[in-house]
Symmetry: C2
Subunit: 244 residues, 2 copies
């Protein structure tokens, strides 16, 4: 019988959570990153910025969702965000890049221990969430997806995976509408989809898809505060979307 | 600065993987379960069956996907199955049911340690996979979804979650076709969907949905080995499905 009392190839790893928070504003998809406080490492340049996703170890008596909310709040002050677990990352070498070593040595009792991380993502209206860094975060801010630097650990891979999940999700769930104002133009809606999908979409096809199912309600209003060609506003027919 | 050297609320949990293997045969959706060898527990009835999902602890130098494949093979002999990670379960009390205690005490160095599990699922043609139990499994067999007994740990919850994922997936991915013979009737296809969805579907609507996109190719053949009313056979247009 298999028995871990007889087996030395199992040590207990650390388990962490990491959060990929996507924010959308004016045609730009961003990700919330923190800058970690420099470890006492004389070799590293003092000007080197060191970015990563908000994440940390799970407490003993905490379930994973609670842990994700606690850690996001501790590091960035953001709370009341709907977080969805999307994938666990368990490459045995994921925390073994030389550039992560000084920081791990500074804060971990077992700096070389394996860390398996459970990743969460969320999608928010960027302007509703202004992060404030605390705990080991020196800084917390939104980064355009196209300007994301090399991150600590395997965090670039985690961001890319989250983006893949988001692209798939936006095609079958009404997630995208949470990112727009209540009243929006068709151009704004298309821009949102194009930004997340990372490609241009055919205008006529796109509009036909959305109009044919009655998912959009045309309003008797037009855009304000634009110099000319004020476009019609729409609102989202949530009941209809859920039924489809 | 947050520092786990100063924090006593973090112990390293165990990390395991668990596999929910769905098999389909003749209108019945089944799940692969193992029966674990009885622990040396004098209080338990010798006739009590003790079922659970194939799963075990992850080795130190193993990534999660490798671990899932190794463990499934060790316990059930099944291999070359495509496994997809779907969720991590981390309730701190998930391995603390009194009925699981004797077994944990028999095989674990730290029987009361928390175990966080990463769950995988798969969908196979049942007749292609005949399990053979080994390691701590006494027995390994297919159970109809409607006859699943009370399982160890939180494994009933894990099966239910996997089923939810499968229901959602079958509506957007061609997973279902992997479960049918190459040539099938429309009734077989509908029965597959009805079984996974757990509800009756309208025959005309169902057929229209599948026919309108050219996803099914009608063959010049009819069913064999049925006494009367031999139905037309179809095959799946994989290229078309992927394009849609």
């Amino acid at each position: 019988m298999y028995n871990d009392k007889l087996n030395t190839s199992i040590q207990n790893p650390h388990v962490s959570v990491d959060c990929v928070i996507f924010g959308f504003k004016e045609g730009d998809l961003k990700v919330l990153l923190i800058e970690r406080k420099a470890a006492s490492d004389n070799n590293s340049s003092p000007n080197k910025k060191d970015f990563l996703l908000p994440g940390d170890l799970v407490f003993d008596n905490e379930d994973l969702d609670t842990s994700a909310r606690r850690i996001l709040k501790e590091l960035t002050s953001l709370e009341n965000i709907y977080l969805e677990q999307f994938h666990a990352f368990g490459n045995p070498d994921r925390v073994r890049k030389p550039s992560d070593k000084p920081w791990l040595e500074a804060i971990r009792t077992e700096p070389y221990a394996r860390v398996i991380t459970i990743a969460y993502y969320s999608l928010v209206k960027l302007e509703d969430y202004k992060p404030t860094a605390s705990s080991f975060a020196n800084n917390a801010d939104w980064f355009s997806l196209k300007d994301i630097p090399e991150l600590a650990f395997d965090h670039n891979e985690i961001v890319n995976y989250a983006l893949k999940v988001l692209k798939s999700r936006i095609q079958t769930h009404p997630v995208g509408f949470e990112l727009l104002p209540k009243k929006f133009t068709l151009s704004q809606l298309q821009k949102l989809y194009e930004t997340i999908m990372g490609e241009n979409l055919d205008k006529r096809n796109f509009r036909r898809q959305f109009m044919k199912n009655g998912m959009l309600i045309p309003l008797m209003e037009k855009q304000k505060h634009v110099p000319h060609k004020r476009a019609q506003l729409f609102k989202f027919n949530k009941e209809k979307f859920e039924a489809v």
